[in-house]
């Protein structure tokens, strides 16, 4: 586990990314802050529409119109990426920060060979000659568990299965030895049997390269295996964060509790699967006070008046809740 003394690789401060649509402004990310130290894996967790992916794309400066980063700072080793120009961002993309997408079936270009798509990263981010680049691609493809790499480089994506393609995507993401990898639901589109293989592969490769990772997912089971820290997002806000173990075992925020309770527990077959009542509120038109109060079993009058801010709780946990949970007590 990463110690506190380690320098911060990435610091996100009060990030706000809005989408200006005809139907109104969607505050997809509304004041999110977190830190990642070198070598650390952070889980970014929340329901669909919680703004998780938008955080990832904001860091890489890949927010397209009508979306826009409205404020905040994204500091990579102290350099603010929000203020960086497109040319500087292009240097950073793939070289310093790379990304693994959710659906491997669509994230590779169907008309370019695997080799060409891998080589592109090295061509963009290194001065290596053709031979060295080729050797690096072969080695990386072997590292992600693809045999006969030499001839597989000539193959096209449609000749690969989903799991193989995600291995290729991971190989591309690791190729230029980036310091941070943003993995956006990297296993959601894969078969369950392939999922754990891919996760193990990512964990091994990231540890080997000493890189950090932001693992964006809705699946708490996946992050609990992979992450040192977890940040829970709800309606574009951080509602809770802390060390993985503490957060999973005894969360302070009722929303996190709800997420954990909705993981099926196979050892207890008689208990009905818990779910969080209601749905995510319309993010264009958020109510006053706490965004979660309509779905929260602990909500009181205060929750409808004042929006709770992120405050320190037990141990490493911080939560944005007026009435946080105490250990051992169920919501």
């Amino acid at each position: 586990m990463a110690g506190k003394a380690q320098p911060k690789l990435l610091e996100v401060r009060d990030l706000r990314t809005y989408f200006h649509t005809f139907a109104g402004t969607v505050r997809a990310v509304n004041g999110v802050s977190f830190d990642i130290a070198a070598g650390e894996v952070m889980g970014l967790v929340g329901e669909s529409g919680g703004g998780k992916s938008v955080v990832g794309f904001s860091i890489l400066g890949l927010i397209d119109s009508p979306g826009k980063i409205e404020g905040g700072e994204i500091r990579l080793n102290g350099e603010d990426l929000v203020k960086a120009g497109e040319a500087r961002l292009r240097e950073i993309r793939g070289r310093e920060i790379s990304m693994v997408f959710q659906d491997p079936m669509t994230s590779l270009n169907p008309l370019h060979s695997i080799g060409r798509q891998m080589d592109e990263v090295l061509r963009l981010h290194s001065d290596l000659d053709v031979k060295t680049r080729h050797a690096a691609c072969v080695e990386m493809l072997e590292n992600v568990g693809i045999s006969r790499a030499e001839e597989r480089l000539k193959a096209y994506p449609h000749q690969f299965s989903g799991g193989m393609r995600q291995r290729v995507v991971i190989a591309i993401a690791l190729l230029a030895r980036p310091r941070l990898i943003i993995a956006d639901e990297p296993t959601t589109a894969l078969d369950v049997t392939i999922q754990s293989q891919i996760l193990k592969l990512m964990r091994r490769q990231i540890a080997k390269k000493g890189a950090s990772m932001i693992l964006v997912t809705h699946d708490l089971a996946v992050v609990s295996e992979m992450a040192n820290h977890i940040t829970v997002l709800y309606c574009g806000n951080v509602v809770e964060r802390g060390r993985t173990r503490e957060l999973i075992e005894a969360p302070a925020h009722p929303y996190t509790r709800g997420l954990i309770d909705s993981i099926p527990d196979l050892s207890n077959r008689h208990e009905r699967l818990q779910q969080i009542p209601g749905t995510v509120p319309d993010i264009r038109n958020l109510p006053k006070g706490c965004n979660f109060r309509d779905r929260c079993p602990r909500a009181q009058a205060l929750c409808g008046e004042v929006e709770p801010s992120l405050t320190a709780q037990r141990g490493s946990l911080s939560a944005a809740c007026h009435f946080p949970l105490r250990p051992g007590k169920r919501a």
Binding site: R93, F101, S107, L108, N109, H158
Partner: protein, 321 residues
């Protein structure tokens, strides 16, 4: 590969045979060409003799047999009007038409692809709106009107380009080529531009539609996440994926322009095939019309074949079967 080629050749011959039957039947039931050959005051005996010389006294089946058997030997008969081999007449004029069409298609591509990519990548920008409005004009304005306006402006008003004819030519391998002389280029600009506008507009709209669709794909964002430049993302990743429908239309338009550039050739007095076709139709010069139509069918069949080959070069998922 060899099996594929063989299959394609058989298919192509079959198409050409069907076309030959249709063309022959059409010709047999439209007008009596004998009156185009004999003098107005010819006697019945003279008419009958002319009929016999031309082979028009035989049954339709015998005529078709003669037609098809000489056709496969490369003999398309003599023009009734010029009393020369019909094929030779057309081949003499083919280079002029092909030249004009190639310049027109090149012009269409050079303009349509970059503008289409731009309009597809920035669908909401003001420039894109102007481009799209322009393309709508290009599709809507009739060629003969555009041709006349261009002549009025560039030939009559400003006197920059000549209004008609082909200019100087150079003979290479027996073909008269005007693209190798400056004067030839001056002559070809206006007709080629007239001919290209509609195709340009169609290709532009196809490119834009393709780019808009491709732009939503994950691999475009993934390419950006790798650090590729916007230009590389659009042209190397995007355009290639948007190209298949554009090439299909390109092939069809290419054939269409070679076959039916008639109106433009007439406006600019361009000595191409189209003008010969019109003249031959007026004079019921059957052999010329037949060769023309057969040649057009052949051109379409060959272009389609080439387009299919190009598909496989672009998309590894398309195989020659």
């Amino acid at each position: 590969m060899f099996g594929y080629l063989l299959k394609r050749m058989i298919q192509m011959s079959l198409v050409l045979w069907v076309v030959s039957v249709i063309v022959f039947l059409m010709m047999s039931f439209t007008g009596d060409p004998v009156f185009m050959v004999v003098p107005i005051d010819a006697t019945d005996a003279e008419i009958a003799q002319a009929r016999r010389i031309l082979g028009l006294d035989q049954s339709v089946l015998v005529q078709y047999w003669r037609f098809i058997s000489s056709l496969v030997q490369g003999d398309f008969g003599n023009s009734y009007v010029f009393r020369q081999p019909a094929l030779k007449l057309i081949l003499e004029r083919l280079p002029a038409t092909v030249e004009m069409v190639l310049v027109a298609m090149a012009l269409a591509l050079v303009v349509a692809i970059p503008l289409g990519v731009y309009a597809g990548a920035n669908p909401n920008s003001r420039i894109s709106r102007i481009i799209m409005a322009g393309s709508l004009l290009g599709i809507s304005l009739p060629g003969f009107w555009v041709g006349m306006v261009l002549i009025f402006l560039f030939a009559v008003h400003w006197g920059i380009f000549p209004s008609s004819g082909r200019g100087d030519t150079v003979e290479i391998f027996g073909l008269r080529i005007s693209l190798l002389t400056a004067d030839g280029w001056r002559h070809i600009i206006l007709p080629a531009l007239t001919l290209s506008l509609a195709t340009m507009a169609i290709l532009l709209r196809m490119t834009r539609a393709g780019m808009m669709e491709v732009g939503r794909q994950d691999f475009m964002k993934f390419a950006r996440a790798k650090g590729a430049t916007r230009r590389d993302v659009l042209y190397k990743h995007g355009l290639k994926n948007a190209l298949i429908p554009v090439i299909t239309i390109f092939g069809l338009q290419l054939g269409d322009l070679i076959a039916f550039a008639t109106i433009t050739e007439t406006i600019f007095s361009w000595p191409g095939m189209g003008k010969l076709l019109i003249d031959s139709i007026y004079r019921a010069d059957r052999p010329v019309i037949v060769v023309y139509l057969m040649l057009v069918a052949l051109i379409f069949v060959v272009i389609n074949f080439l387009v299919d080959i190009v598909y496989t070069l672009i998309d590894p998922r398309i195989a020659l079967k």
